[in-house]
């Protein structure tokens, strides 16, 4: 289960809306609580570094951005626990391309942005054998205790 405050989820979805019609992306900062449960404390929206003409269906977070993200999380006593990105006018389900680039452990939140408005977010975990994803329950709560 992935626990996230309503405010943070709204901010995550707003990033996808602001990127539309391109894909928007960023990192999830938080904690791994064990037993398959994680808590999102904050997000780090990032620039989509894929070639501009392909951003309608591709996103890229480069190693320097990834390293800066990890360092920013560490300064706050948090970990990078996942990634979020948007699918413009497309279901919030991972594609084969998503799977080729996926890493285990990370929660992957995908948001459908239809005609510029976020409609649904779903979270996914890569299976151990990399064959597919398991959907992860998103628990959106009003307010998180400060981590």
């Amino acid at each position: 289960m992935l626990t996230i405050s309503a405010e943070t989820l709204k901010a995550l979805e707003a990033h996808g809306e602001s990127a539309y019609p391109a894909e928007g992306a960023g990192l999830l900062f938080g904690t791994n609580n064990g037993d398959g449960n994680k808590t999102v404390a904050d997000i780090l929206p990032l620039a989509n570094r894929w070639e501009a003409e392909e951003q309608y269906h591709r996103f890229l977070i480069t190693p320097p951005d990834m390293l800066r993200g990890e360092q920013a999380a560490a300064r706050r006593g948090l970990d990078v626990i996942g990634v979020f990105h948007s699918h413009p006018d497309h279901p919030a389900e991972p594609s084969g391309f998503d799977r080729d680039w996926a890493l285990p452990f990370y929660s992957y939140i995908i948001t459908t942005v239809e005609k510029g408005a976020a409609t649904r977010s779903r979270s996914w975990l890569l299976k151990e054998d990399r064959s597919a994803y398991d959907e992860e329950t998103i628990q959106s709560i009003e307010r998180l205790t400060k981590l």
Binding site: L27, R58, P63, H87, F97, D129
Partner: protein, 91 residues
């Protein structure tokens, strides 16, 4: 011998270690040593065809080895090695 930094999602495959001691004279040899020590890590670093996955980036002293000599890049004691993933995807 040097050490290589493991990104968070791959640490379960290195017994939770962030920094792992590795041996090898080149980056390729170091990665072979790493996957020999931690076999379950291999499928997340390499494709079934034996190629390094596109999202795997190896940095030697803060420089991407793709800009050096790739897997043939020499490694010396006390060099700082890191695996930093690229994150990509799309509909």
């Amino acid at each position: 011998m040097t050490t290589i930094r493991i990104p968070t999602p791959l640490r379960p495959y290195t017994s939770g270690q962030t920094e792992v001691p590795v041996a090898g004279a080149t980056v390729g040899a170091v990665l072979s040593d790493l996957t020999a020590k931690y076999p379950t890590l291999k499928q997340h670093l390499y494709t079934e065809a034996g190629e390094l996955r596109a999202f795997v980036n190896v940095f030697l002293n803060d420089e991407d080895v793709r800009h050096l000599n790739g897997p043939e890049t020499p490694v010396q004691d006390h060099d700082k090695l890191m695996i930093i993933p690229s994150i990509a995807g799309g509909k």
